[in-house]
Symmetry: C2
Subunit: 369 residues, 2 copies
């Protein structure tokens, strides 16, 4: 018998709850489950619910619901907090910890594991990945990204057709995507483009320096050819002074956002055209109606794999998705050390995908369709 | 044999091209068609394409595409322009004019009809309605609204679940919808709300005066109960000084937008909470993946009705959708005078729907599902 603490952390995805249900559905029935509320905050402040039948029934109904059924959120965890968490585990006789999260979560799990070891407390730790930014290393991709990429691709296509219809009134739209410091999501905006006149006509990625003068030229040339221009810009793109545009620092975390408005204001002033900023916003990570079915299946499978690894006594690992070498798209789940993920940091887009978008789109295709 | 000028005008919807295809599919094959580019601008400046087989084949492929296949847009039409249009019709021997558009289009068609009569030029004029704002009188609703309402309802539900997960980091989201001076779209945000804790927790409509102090209290009380608050605000809501928040006056048209940011800034300052503005943006009117199937069917049927009325020699009329009195939802198409539509102006939400949201949702249900 095991006593397992289960939690979700960080920004939700459209399939974050699917992973949770995949996990819970496949854990052995005689395990005792403690559901941690509001991410690490719940670990530190002992906020949890015991997995009664009623809770489990409710939880399984949340499979297709956006957000995080347990509560997720952000929390700056101190070294003292990590000690507190181990005390909580001792008191509650928790022997297994499973969290679904991104890079920050894998780092947190890694710290908790170290502290348990230091205190000679036996703790099995498993991380299940989720991200819309696709910035986790050692996994081909992670649940949440495919759905967000699909949202960005379809939105850009539709927004482009919409603008084309309105070009005697409005000439430029600057579409802002999520992605933090990585360009994966912004780059997905070009996935459905088939014809030269369709947007996006330019994609600004955080991996490359923004050249506003050059962009100005691209806009003018595109309008000259097609009468309108769709520019996509990742929230993480730095303005020419090297600074990212942010909404503020909240709880020690830089909340990005606003580069599209900044660019729109700039281009409007320079070109005397109607330029509108279109920030795709939180719908990118929570639109359950535009979910990618393969993403949803993989999200569930990641949870299921977590359950299997609990029984196999794997510890200190995150589930990764690895593409098989076959022509047909298929993934297998393999473990990677949590510490390796934590140490490696944010995974940016590789040059080969930035320089050869068709290569990126071929990689992306199975995650969206 | 007839020679028919066909055009699209105003902001697109996700099903504007469906109506166009419904029309073209059902017009008699021996009619000669002139497709007008870019709305009235094309009428004034003689921008058109003759309906060749190639054009017709291409056009029918645009049925599910966002935007306006012919080009739509905005154009301030002067009295002189109207005279120019009649000259163009005489030269091209146009005897029928069909435009798909909103209130502005019906007004424009009405003016063109008057001028043709004054010049004793026989012209059949038919208007086909489209709107995401649902602000056209004499029709139960018009194509485009159902899909936009669906987008708003699903987005609000998902954004609410997403915020609920993040409440230790972010407490308030102000969701801004389209709608111009009418609250139909904003009010649709509550359609999927089932439980007390789900958003929206407050909807600000342009039909009612904004009371910021009251809203502040609602936000505090909602956070007290649930830990987070989802506020929906229509772009047309006036700030307390009586002014709407606008992005500017473009070609004589007031472009609304920004009330969510203004409210977010205000509440952040007053309440010292993390408050984010979520402007749903152009996706509301162009998201083809979230289209309402009934809306799409009706859009096609409106075009088909237009084609039938051409043959019946109806003139000076707009197609309206009238609900039958049966329990089962069904509509029939009836004509209304273009001049009546033009004179009546914008259709706001009636008090009974504002005061009894459940009545509004019952009315809305068949348009979304």
């Amino acid at each position: 018998m095991k006593r397992i603490a289960i939690g979700q952390a960080g920004g939700p995805t459209a399939v974050l709850n699917t992973t949770l249900v995949g996990l819970v559905d496949n854990l052995k029935q005689d395990y005792e489950l403690l559901f941690i509320k509001d991410g690490y905050e719940g670990l530190v402040h002992e906020k949890y619910t015991v997995g009664s039948d009623k809770i489990l029934t409710w939880l399984k109904q949340q499979k297709d619901v956006a957000g995080a059924a347990l509560g997720s959120g952000r929390y700056q965890m101190s070294a003292k907090d990590v000690e507190t968490i181990i005390l909580f585990f001792k008191k509650q006789k928790i022997d297994t910890l499973i969290f679904i999260g991104g890079n920050g979560t894998m780092e947190a799990l890694s710290k908790i594991q170290c502290e348990a070891k230091r205190q000679k407390y036996a703790l099995q730790v498993i991380g299940l990945p989720k991200t819309v930014d696709n910035d986790i290393y050692y996994t081909d991709h992670a649940p949440g990204f495919g759905s967000a990429a699909k949202y960005v691709a379809y939105s850009t296509r539709d927004l482009s057709n919409d603008l084309k219809a309105m070009k005697n009134f409005e000439q430029v739209r600057i579409i802002e995507t999520m992605g933090r410091n990585a360009g994966w999501l912004a780059a997905a905006s070009g996935y459905l483009k088939e014809l030269d006149y369709e947007g996006p006509h330019y994609i600004a990625l955080p991996e490359r320096k923004l050249d506003v003068k050059h962009l100005e030229g691209v806009v003018l040339e595109t309008i000259d050819r097609h009468g309108y221009a769709i520019i996509v810009v990742s929230e993480g793109v730095q303005w020419e002074n090297g600074a990212q545009i942010e909404q503020g620092i909240i709880d020690g975390r830089k909340v990005l956002g606003g580069i599209s408005q900044r660019l729109a204001d700039y281009l409007r002033g320079k070109l005397n055209l109607m330029v509108r900023a279109e920030k795709l916003g939180m719908n990118q990570r929570c639109s359950t109606e535009l979910v990618s079915l393969i993403d949803k299946d993989e999200a569930y499978a990641v949870g299921k794999t977590g359950a299997e690894w609990v029984q196999k006594d794997y510890s200190g690992v995150m589930v990764t998705l690895q593409r098989k070498e076959d022509k047909k798209y298929e993934v297998e789940m393999k473990p990677i050390s949590l510490q390796d993920v934590a140490n490696k940091g944010e995974r940016l887009m590789p040059d080969e995908f930035i320089d050869k978008p068709e290569k990126y789109y071929a990689w992306l295709a199975p995650l969206i369709d």
